[in-house]
Amino acid sequence: MKTLRFIVSRLVQSVPVLLGVSIVTFLLMVNTPGDPIRLLVGIRASDETIAIIRDRYGLDDPILSQYFTYLGNLLQGDLGASLRFKVPVSELIAQFYPVTLFLVIYSIVLILPPVIALSVWSAKRPNGVADQIIRILGVVGLAMPVFWVGLLFARFFGVTLGWFPVSGFGTTIPEHFRHLFLPSLTTAIWVVPILTRNLRSALLDEMNRDYVLAGMSKGLGASQVFRTHVFPNSVLPTLNLFAVIVAYLLGGSVIVETVYAVPGMGKLMVDSILARDYFVVQGATLVFALTTIVVMLSVDILSAFIDPRVNS
């Protein structure tokens, strides 16, 4: 009951945030030089034609009225239509959003086990050999450009070994898993180090806590103390970073999506920016923002669930 009220209030708070996001996006878009129609009708169209079509889409109305029309439709749940494709933005989002969501979740699935394993491993003997190796590898992974790693993976795992497809999304769930493996792996390469570093230090901090000593004095033994006390306590600080990263993954998905020709939101979004497809950018940004908010919210709920101190 209490959590429910919490959730509701948070969602209510997010309304002005979304409004702010939409305003910022809109301002950015209208101030971006470049004419969507020119890109739409192609190189050979004459200026007259363009003028006519601009007028058709009401792109010459004053900016404020444009925004309020948009907002009005938005409140009725209408995200408008793509200037490029003339299909409803909601349709486009319905088409691309699941892919990116799948990609992000899949990445997380691939990321968490190694993060836990590695950080536990290196925390066992801080500054030991394993720890150092993990750190260095981590930094290397972190410092390699994602698109570069992606290309190499595609050529090696996809072409040379032929283990995984190098593009697309597939149609069935198993296919999704196969097609998105390399993209997710590529993502993991730089996310794992970040989270590992964080969880490792959290573990080390917690291992020096008094309650560890207390646990040992009960004769629980190192491993049980670690499992039942140290680990749960260490997860908390990492959770928040995790939320930030998930948000970043959503927004940064464009790179892997481009490298692996994954038909996802990131690509849609960037293409739409380049094509000045205002309403798609608007809609997609809002969906992204909402997702981020939900992720943050669920992380808060989760940590409230783990840590009794949070909501009291």
């Binding site: 207390a214 040992m216 004095s217 009960k218 004769g219 009794p308 101190r309």
Partner: protein, 534 residues
């Protein structure tokens, strides 16, 4: 009675520092041994070595024979069959020794689950019983609670319950009562004493407070600089200490300190006066405003008192009594919701426009010696800061003034270059005082300045304050939970509870003929050296 535990030539070294130097003692079955010493004396390390609960970096030798079995030789697995089952341990600051994410009941049950083959319901029943043993009310309710929901005393009880779970033969108590309020401290001590009687528990009781030890143990060893300097029957050691360190230790115990008789405050006009001061924490929420409630919770409810010039007023009370809040109101860190503060008869706004001027006269010294100093600021700069900021003296004289101030508080000049972290607690406290004196105040408010210090340091700091007061004719407001200290320093005292002043008057009257029940319990709770063990 054969010795349950005998320790021979125990040495513990971390790197090249010797933490425990050749310690030997016996503990008879059912006996209780106190280990007394100041922080860094190696008493805690000794205690932990008995369970081999030291980091890998520690190099231990000597022998610890528990019930004929050498602990130091034993493997982790064997140790884990002993720990918690036959030797149990309780610690200082229960707050940090309980896992914040685990329910009290489960933390108690952990030991049971590990060492007994009790299952499901039985475990719950046993937990319930244990919580009752340690006198936790409504055990079922508290078993489901999380540590942060319990009071300090209850946490400590819960920890004890966990320690007792498997009816251990030996209980190691490492400063179990430090950092607890006097009354709570007393109740825990009583509990331990009681447990010894009822459960026939053998006990090693580590503490810096000889009084507390005296209450529980018949034998005591005194440690200093990781050596045992004296050992024997508690009574004997207290009455006839051999080693001069022991003597100093006992001498600096509040019981033994000669009461300093403050000059009867002349009928000077009150220097500081509080009229119905009320402080609230937490602002008014919308609901509060609608329902005409004040909102927040009152930390101080209508406090009235006066302090004459040259007088020393003591404010006593347990944590949460609002005494510190009151102090902060006096220096404008919190704004009173109601009431006013008069200084020299005129209303003063400590948080108002010309606070700087007022604060030159009224200074506050804080409780935690380290935290009160900016960690990245050299001592010299810290003391010079107010001089420079308020241009209290020409810039070229600043170094001289600083040196002078440091001398006044007995700090070697060479310490000036150090950072707080490189100083001892006592030294830091002196720096804090010196910094306050830099403003050349009329009134010095000392908020628990001694409570974080070892007894000997405590005594020194108190001496310093007394001296300063004499030299500078300071007016002092001395806040402490330690009545012994108050009694020694102050010529008037206020007893606070739940934000209210329950009793006030000249120190002697209040202490010798308390009119309030609460005051009496507070006074009774003072651990005295003459407590008889058992």
């Amino acid at each position: 009675m054969s010795a349950l535990l005998c320790v021979r030539n125990l040495n513990v070294r971390f790197g090249d520092t010797l933490a425990v130097d050749d310690v030997s003692f016996d503990l008879p079955r059912g006996g209780a041994l106190g280990i007394v010493g100041e922080s860094g004396s190696g008493k805690s390390v000794t205690c932990r070595a008995l369970m081999k609960l030291l980091p890998q970096t520690a190099m231990i030798d000597g022998s610890v024979e528990f019930d004929g079995q050498n602990i130091l030789e034993a493997s982790e697995t064997t140790l884990n069959t002993l720990r918690g089952k036959r030797i149990a341990m309780i610690f200082q600051s229960p707050a940090s020794h309980l896992d914040p994410l685990m329910r009290i009941g489960d933390q108690v049950a952990e030991t049971l689950r590990k060492h007994t083959d009790l299952k499901g319901r039985e475990v719950l029943k046993e937990v319930r019983r244990l919580l009752e043993v340690v006198r936790i009310p409504e055990p079922d309710r508290w078993a489901k609670a999380y540590p942060h929901q319990l009071s300090g005393g209850m946490k400590q009880r819960a920890m004890i319950a966990g320690a007792l779970a498997c009816k251990p033969d030996l209980l190691l108590a490492d400063e179990p009562t430090t950092a607890l309020d006097a009354t709570v401290q007393k109740s825990v001590l009583d509990l331990l004493v009681d447990l010894r009687r009822t459960q026939g528990l053998s006990m090693i009781f580590v503490s810096h407070d000889l009084g507390a030890v005296a209450r529980v143990c018949e034998d005591v060893i005194v440690m200093r600089k990781s050596k045992v300097v004296e050992a024997g029957k508690t009574r004997r050691v207290i009455d006839a200490p051999q080693h001069e360190y022991t003597q100093m230790l006992i001498a600096s115990h509040p019981d033994r300190l000669t009461l300093h008789t403050p000059q009867a405050a002349a009928h000077a006009p009150p220097l500081i006066e509080a009229r119905g001061v009320q402080v609230r924490y937490g602002g008014r929420s919308l609901i509060d405003i609608i329902s005409k409630r004040d909102g927040g919770f009152p930390a101080v409810k209508g406090a009235d008192f006066t302090v004459q010039a040259g007088q020393t007023l003591g404010i006593v009370g347990e944590s949460g009594s609002g005494k510190s809040t009151l102090a902060r109101a006096l220096v404008g860190l919190v704004k009173p919701a109601q009431g006013e503060i008069l200084y020299k008869g005129k209303p003063a706004q400590p948080s108002g426009r010309n606070r700087a001027l007022y604060l030159r006269d009224v200074q506050l010294v804080y409780q935690h010696p380290y935290e009160a100093l900016s960690p990245r600021m050299r001592i010299r700069d810290a003391i010079a800061e107010p001089l420079r900021r308020h241009r209290l003296c020409p810039t070229n004289e600043v170094p001289a003034r600083v040196a002078d101030l440091m001398k006044q508080v007995d700090l070697e000049p060479m310490l000036g270059e150090r950072l707080p972290a490189q100083l001892s607690g006592g030294q830091c406290q002196r720096v804090a005082i010196a910094r306050a004196l830099a403003m050349d105040p009329q009134v010095l408010i000392a908020d628990e300045v001694t409570s974080a210090l070892d007894v000997t340091l405590q005594a020194q700091v108190m001496d310093l304050l007394i001296r300063l007061q004499k030299e500078r004719g300071l007016t002092m407001i001395f806040i402490s939970h330690d009545l012994a200290v108050i009694r020694r320093l102050c010529n008037a005292v206020i007893v606070m509870r739940h934000g209210e002043i329950v009793e006030a008057g000249p120190t002697a009257d209040v202490f010798d003929h308390p009119t309030q029940e609460y005051t009496r319990t507070l006074i009774d709770a003072i651990p005295h050296l003459q407590e008889a063990a058992l």
